[in-house]
């Protein structure tokens, strides 16, 4: 299962190698795939058999999903052998303490530690831990021992095991945006004749400001783009109804705007009409914050009409998110139906 495999791979922004390697291996044979200078994996899916007139007017379509995930980076090593770190991408400081992590290329296991609660002063107990007061403990004594295993600049990712759970849900790390990568892979494996050609971009460095997508979109120069994401669902007891953003189980979330893009309204309507026609459940992403690769793609070269569709995921940008299998499946169905809608 693509999602399970992809979720388990460490791939913090700028360190997407292992994710890319997996995707390259998982690609069907006979598709053309290139890695660009930034590290984006660009794949061309063209059905040679479909040169009929119905396929001739199809615009150049780019589908994009980002390979990177949020994580940490080692910034210094203490005398005691504990590792100080900085965040890579947006993570809430308060989710970090006591989590298992993997450090560096060799995936050295560690735990994010803090001063023991017994030893904290009254005021310290009232304040949430800040990143600068935390450290990673890899179970060694002294700087020299630590330096044998890790070095400054090493990436750190959460060590979270993927599980099936509850009512057809999955939990795991990095659903933002391995869920998009998994859907893209499934699209590339789709052997239905009735699918128009498209270009798939597995991008890098989205979490630090949608950087990979800039060069990917420049290279592919599409007319139309669809970004496939994992987005925040906030259908939890502490949020009021109008603060849910998206809801698990209600289908793919269609974006109208976020802080990086105003979605092309014709494409948005096409997604809605396609979902209705094919009886695929969908919802709108009822939140205008956040950013995605669409911000870069829509402004590439002369401008690209761009839309965004997301699988709702609770607790993104933390060691574990939860998504629902039906949302994944319906998102895949909607992406496929959307592509087909361009065949005259």
């Amino acid at each position: 299962m693509f999602l399970q495999d992809l979720s388990g791979i460490p791939g913090v922004s700028g360190n997407e190698n292992e994710v890319r390697k997996y995707i390259r291996k998982a690609l069907p044979s006979r598709v053309k795939a290139d890695t660009d200078y930034m590290g984006n994996l660009l794949v061309n899916k063209d059905f040679k058999g479909n040169s009929s007139a119905r396929f001739r007017k199809i615009p150049r379509i780019m589908l994009a999903a980002h390979m990177d995930e949020v994580g940490l980076m080692i910034s210094s090593i203490e005398k005691t052998g504990h590792l100080r770190f900085k965040k890579v991408g947006g993570i809430d400081d308060r989710v970090l303490v006591a989590k298992d992590v993997l450090v560096g290329k060799d995936c050295v296991p560690g735990v994010i530690g803090a001063k023991a609660v017994h030893l904290q002063k009254e005021e310290e107990r009232k304040r949430p831990y800040e990143v600068k007061s935390l450290f990673i403990d890899i179970g060694v004594q002294g700087k020299e021992e630590a330096e044998k295993l890790v070095q400054i600049g090493d990436y750190v990712s959460f060590d979270s095991s993927f599980k099936s759970m509850g009512d057809n849900c999955y939990m795991g790390k990095a659903f933002d945006d391995r869920v998009g990568c998994a859907i893209l892979l499934e699209m590339l494996h789709d052997h239905q004749k009735e699918l128009p050609p498209f270009q798939a971009a597995f991008t890098v460095q989205e979490e630090v400001g949608f950087r990979g997508a800039r060069t990917a979109a420049y290279a592919l120069n599409p007319e139309i783009a669809l970004v496939i994401e994992g987005t925040a669902a906030s259908d939890v007891p502490e949020s009021k109804d109008h603060e849910h953003s998206t809801t698990l189980g209600e289908g793919p979330a269609i974006t109208f705007m976020d802080q990086s893009v105003m979605v092309d309204r014709e494409l948005m309507q096409r997604l809605v009409n396609t979902a209705e026609k094919n009886e695929i459940p969908f919802q709108f992403r009822r939140f205008t914050g956040g950013f995605t690769d669409a911000g870069a793609i829509s402004l590439a070269r002369e401008g690209t009409r761009t839309a965004v569709i997301s699988v709702p995921c609770r607790y993104i940008h933390s060691p574990f998110s939860i998504l629902k299998e039906s949302d994944y499946r319906h998102t895949l169905e909607l992406v496929r139906a959307f592509l087909k809608s361009f065949i005259v």
């Binding site: 109008h242 705007m257 401008g303 009409r305």
Partner: protein
Amino acid sequence: MQKLISKFTETFGPSGLEDDIRRVIYEEVKNYADEVFTDPLGNLVAVRKGKDPRLMLAAHMDEIGLIITHIDEKGFLRISSVGGVTFYQLIGQRFMFANGTIGTVYHEKVDSFKELTWSKLYLDIGAANKEEAAAKVSLGDMAVFHHSFVDLGKRYIAKAMDDRIGCVILVELLKRLYGQKVSQELAFVFTVQEEVGLRGAKSAAYKLAPRYAVAVDVTRVGDMPEAPRMDVSLGKGPAIKVKDSSVICHPKVRDLMVKTAEKNKIDYQLEVLERGGTDAGSIHLSREGVPSGVMSIPCRYVHTASEMVDGRDVENGVTLMEKICLSPEWSSMGQ
């Protein structure tokens, strides 16, 4: 020109939904340009053909607004901002959707305005329940201030002076240049999505690859009671921008603008805007770089329902832009 200001400012066109205002502007420019087209993001481009160097003139069509993020069981709409909207400017204001639906903004109980957040505001369109509301509007629909244009004599107030006044100036300019011989090529660009990050201008500049650019926008003024310090006043002429937070205007372009104003005895002011950006911020960084300037119309109460400009600044602005466009110095400017 007053008619045009009234028409442009009262037309609907928040960032990302510029269809209506584009149609209105298209009707005004179509007979005065050699070529008119719309690009993938929706920028409207009107070209007066000519020789090199190509000069890009930009004014943005979009305005700030609200977007619906939720419709509740009782028919109230929850909202978020499109562009730089401040909460406390909204209370009690009327807003209008593209289909004509009108509503007013109010807030949940708060003890102080400091507690206001987007989550506590709502838009009431007079619907009794969700079904009634959904019959009029949908999630993702946008609304703009519902305020009419008012002529106060020499000064005008309206919503969306930012930057429909720039659009008016470009349209008037195109009309004035009609029949006149223009040596350099002029691309009049009515851009989209300026209020959400100078976006439309970026792709337009890439496509047009101009040699130079001048953006026309509004700027803040400091001549009101206890206003933040800003040495630009209403009625003292169009402002020639030195810098804002998106661009440091190219000194040669700025000098050309200043010299042109002085030569033609047009009142002008120099503008240093601490916070704020214009389309020139995107344009000057396009491709290999585009030396850019900005002419700003002084405007009070920017990003409110009643933005105020002085008609004489607008008139002078058109004349200054006309002289700037006709300046023979562009071709000899060098980089």
